[in-house]
Every structure is written in C-alpha cells, then in structure tokens.
Symmetry: C2
Subunit: 203 residues, 2 copies
DNA sequence: CAATGGTTTAACCTTTGAGTTAATCCGTGT
DNA sequence: ACACGGATTAACTCAAAGGTTAAACCATTG
C-alpha cells in the first residue's frame, strides 16, 4: 500500500487556503478548490469530509501560522521603543507578503464567533508580558500614562488597517496607483512606529 | 391603480441591508431577505431584478449614508486638534450604532473592486481640504511633520479597527466581556484622539 | 503473480437557491 | 358596476453546488 506521503493533503490545504482567502467560505466552491489543487472533487471529501471540515482546517492553519509569529515579538525582552519598532516593521512586512490574510481572518471570525475561543485556547495568545512591560515603563515615568491594551490595539490598528482598507484607501488617497500604495506601505514601517512612539514618549 | 407608496421598496431595502450586512453577499439568501421583509420572494425580483441589483442598491445606500457623513467633519473649518477630537468622537459614536457596517463595506469592497470606483465618483470623497490644512499646520510649525495621508489613515485605523477586530480583541484583551468592551470603546473616544494629538503636537 | 488496501476518478444523487410564470388581488378611474 | 393595471403570490424551472458511490488504479507484500 502507498505510504500516506501527505503531499496530496498539504497540496489540498494550500489550494484551499488560496481559494478560501480570496473568496471567503461562502464564496468558495469545492470544485474550484479541486481544480486549483489539480484533483478530483471527490478526493476533497476523501481527505476532508466536508466543506466545513476543510475550512476549519485551513482557517486554523492560517491563524496559527499567522497570529502567533507576530505576537511573539511582543514577548521578547527588548526595551519598549525598540520592541514597537520591530513589531511594526515585522508585522507590515509579513502582511505585505500575505495581504489578504487579515481580512480573511477578521471576516470569518466575525461570522463564526464560536470558532474563535476554541482556537485561542489551542494557540494561547497572551498579551500579559507586554501589558506588564508597559505598566512598568509608566511607573518608571519613561512614557506617558496609557492603558496598555489601548496601546496594543493602536499598534495592531496601525499595521492591519492599511491592508483591510486597501481598496478604498488606494482609490481615495493614491489615485488607484498600486506602486504608490506599495511605497506608502514601505514608508509606513518606520512612520507608524514613529507615530506611536511619539505619542507615548515623555518629552 | 395603486400609487407606488414605496413603503414596500424601502421595506425591502432595510431588510436586505440587515441580511447582507450580517451575512455578506454570498452568505445571504433571497428567501431569507424576503422572509425578513415579510413578503414573497418573487416580489424581490419584481422590485429589484436580481440579487446583484439588490445588493448594489443596498451597498451604495449603506456606503453613501455612511462614509460621507463621517468625512464631512474633515471638511469643516475647525482648527486641527479640535477637528481630530470631533472626528474620533463622532466616528466611534456612529460606528457603535452600526458596528457591522465597516466590516461589511471593507469586505465587499475587497471582493469586488470594480464597484468602488463607480461609487467614489458618485459620492465624491475628497480629502484635499484636510490635507491642505495639515500641510499648513506643518508649515506654521504648530505640529510635527507628517504625511497628511498617513495621519488620515491613522485616524481612520484608530476608529475602525476596534470594530472590525472586535471578536478577537474582545477575547484576547477583555475576557470576552461585552460590557468591558463597550466601556473600552467609550474611553476610546477621548483616548484615541488624545493619542493622535499627542503624537503630532509640538512640545 | 495475485491478493490487499489505500488512493483516485467518473458518474450520479440530492438539495438548495436564483429567477420565472401565470394567476390573483385590489385600488382607481370611467 | 366593471375594466384596467400595478402589486403580490403560489408554484414552477433550471442550474449549480455539496456530497456519495462504485469502480479503477497502483504500490506493497506474502
């Protein structure tokens, strides 16, 4: 018997991810995913019993590969300002290579809330270390007082929003010019970090 | 013959908007919209010829009712800092009452880019006045240099992201407590404006 | 080499959902 | 009173999409 070399399975996962990310759960077609993977539709159901199951697998995979690798920078032990710089730079960089992932995750999360808590428990997102660090800096008087959660939300917002809002921003602010938008994102790696640090830095 | 009192038509629009916003174009069902409106499915097609047409009408309506009323604050002639305060407060307030609209607009825009340019032309979004104001303030030396478009993106991000990211933020930062999240949003009306102003204010 | 069993496929089944049709309802003008 | 015509409906059509089935394929092993 053939060893399950799982090349087919991961092949399916990759194809399914591309389609799901592009079209969303409802918009994706099993046939389309099969085509993308270069296989028969029945084989999808052989490996993943249903569209739901396939989506679940793809979503968890995308989520797990994505969110933690970014939040991990938050738990390093760099000094705060340096950490913010690295976080923003790294995050925007990763998002540039996967521009549709955030929209995908946020959209599907918004439409299937139950899914989330299961995943969170699996992955274990925990901002406590960052929160403590910010508190300590405030105590020490090196930055202006701010709710650490606010700060974190702001950091995330500054990085993610340019990607989920890209279609409208590109048209309204950049004459629909892709090249200009790309440059904007590159400048933003530094500008956004600067903007955040400026705001909390004591002067 | 009965006068077209259009109560049915706007009734359909309202119902369709609720369903579309909640489930997205692909996820919404014509039958479901008919039920929501308390009418027969064929009547949907009588008023709006197809699902696409109905969606188009709903989307434009949502977009037009939404985006400009917010950007209008940007074209007032308040001084910059005041303008930022009003913008953030007003925007978060409106979003609190329509929490699913931004996700809806961003998602559908991301999946049907052609739609956008048509609408933009109809509505006429124009940030020039704000951009000029910011440039003038920089010239006058009253704020730190910043690309006005960056500033605008930041303002939008700070307001919108807490809504599109709500599911995950609520779980990770607020123990899935709705009440706490609501308070967070309220504090944010002031905190976000402060954060932005802090960053650009010259000291 | 033939039996085994995981893998893959073509063809089929079933349900669902968008859209159509033909008939009915009912307010209005004559 | 009745004919006209827009508004509304029940019942239908048709295509697409998710899922199933039974057979074929082929690498391994005894």
């Amino acid at each position: 018997m053939k060893i399950n070399d799982s090349t087919t399975e991961s092949n399916i996962m990759e194809a399914a991810k591309r389609i799901f990310v592009l079209k969303g759960f409802e918009g994706a077609r099993m046939q389309e995913i099969a085509d993308e993977a270069g296989i028969n539709k029945a084989l999808l159901h052989y490996y993943f019993r249903s569209k739901d199951k396939l989506f679940e697998a793809v979503f968890i995979d995308a989520f797990v590969k994505f969110v933690p690798t970014i939040l991990i920078t938050l738990n390093s032990n760099s000094p705060l300002f340096r950490k913010i710089e690295v976080f923003v730079d790294h995050y925007i960089d990763v998002l540039s290579k996967n521009p549709f992932i955030p929209g995908f995750i946020l959209h599907e999360l918004g439409h299937n809330t139950e899914r989330l808590s299961k995943i969170i428990r699996t992955v274990g997102l925990n901002p406590d270390l960052f929160v403590e660090q910010v508190k300590a800096e405030i105590e020490a008087g090196s930055i202006n007082p701010i709710d650490p959660r606010d700060l974190l939300v702001n950091m995330l917002a500054m990085c993610i929003f340019p990607f989920v809002g890209k279609p409208i921003l590109k048209v309204v602010l950049f004459k629909n010019n892709e090249e200009e938008y790309h440059e904007f994102l590159n400048r933003r790696k530094i500008a956004a970090a600067q903007f955040i640090i400026n705001s909390i830095k004591k002067r």
